[in-house]
């Protein structure tokens, strides 16, 4: 194993992100860093440097699964890392992301009012009123925060579940951002 670098501690950033946003949902916007940097790196650099070295989520699963021994460390079913499932899950994930952006637009246009809930697994609504005080930001900004936080928490929960049952970083094998950036890299490589 190589020497530890500063970016080996990004798992702390992941914990900070989830805790701070838990109390003030507007911080959820910082999650856009996790969406933009990997794509920028893949498009410009043609590599997965972010996934490989910097992803706080992946590191968190490694720390919990490997170092804290919370993972069974068994091979995951092959279909979980098959191209069909990976690209299918990516399509579903970004469809839901698009829906979230659309909901934000509806709130911005005044067609819908702000809903202070965090939706887990795209299904279960959890009231989240403490995290936002009305008027502290435009309502569409808050709506996007709730949406993005829902997405981030949901993906982390899925990641934690597969971490416990299979290998620590099983989430990475079907992470939509990982699939997307690998796809970009493969296109660039051709």
């Amino acid at each position: 194993m190589r020497n530890k670098k500063w970016y080996d501690y990004m798992w702390i950033w992941a914990i900070i992100y989830f805790s701070v946003s838990f109390f003030n949902i507007l911080f959820a916007w910082l999650g856009m860093i996790d969406f933009l940097i990997p794509v920028i790196v893949a498009v410009i650099g043609g590599n997965k440097w972010f996934c490989n070295n910097m992803c706080g989520r992946g590191q968190l699963f490694r720390v919990l699964g490997k170092n804290c021994k919370l993972s069974r460390n068994k091979p995951a079913p092959k279909w979980l890392s098959s191209n069909g499932f990976r690209y299918g899950f990516m399509a579903f994930f970004f469809l839901m992301f698009g829906n979230m952006v659309y909901q934000t637009y509806l709130v911005a246009a005044g067609a819908k009012s702000l809903r202070q809930v965090v939706k887990l697994f795209w299904t279960f609504k959890v009231p989240f009123r403490w995290a936002y005080s009305a008027g502290s930001a435009p309502s569409w900004v808050a709506q996007y925060s709730f949406g993005l936080y829902s997405l981030m928490v949901t993906s982390t929960l899925i990641g934690l579940i597969v971490m416990v049952f299979y290998k620590p970083r099983t989430w990475c094998s079907f992470c939509p951002m990982g699939t997307l950036t690998q796809g970009v890299c493969k296109i660039k490589e051709k």
Binding site: N47, N52, K78, S81, G178
Partner: protein, 66 residues
């Protein structure tokens, strides 16, 4: 000598093998798949154990999974 063999078609290029390898023998080639430097690899199998896509096998010489 036993070496790590990567199934490039199934590799997700997450980089866990690169992180785990005690010899620094693995690299992610342009974000596409992991490449093992067979001259450095000692066939310890740590990468195969860490691989979340289960696409690294420790085999004698050059063999590829069908």
């Amino acid at each position: 000598m036993r070496k790590a063999n990567v199934n490039e078609k199934r590799c997700v290029a997450c980089g866990e093998c690169v992180y785990t390898c005690p010899k620094g023998a693995v690299n992610i080639k342009n974000g596409c798949f992991a490449v093992v430097d067979k001259t450095i690899c000692v066939g310890c199998g740590l990468c195969a154990m860490a691989c979340p896509a289960d696409c690294i096998k420790i085999w004698e010489g050059e063999q590829n999974e069908k």
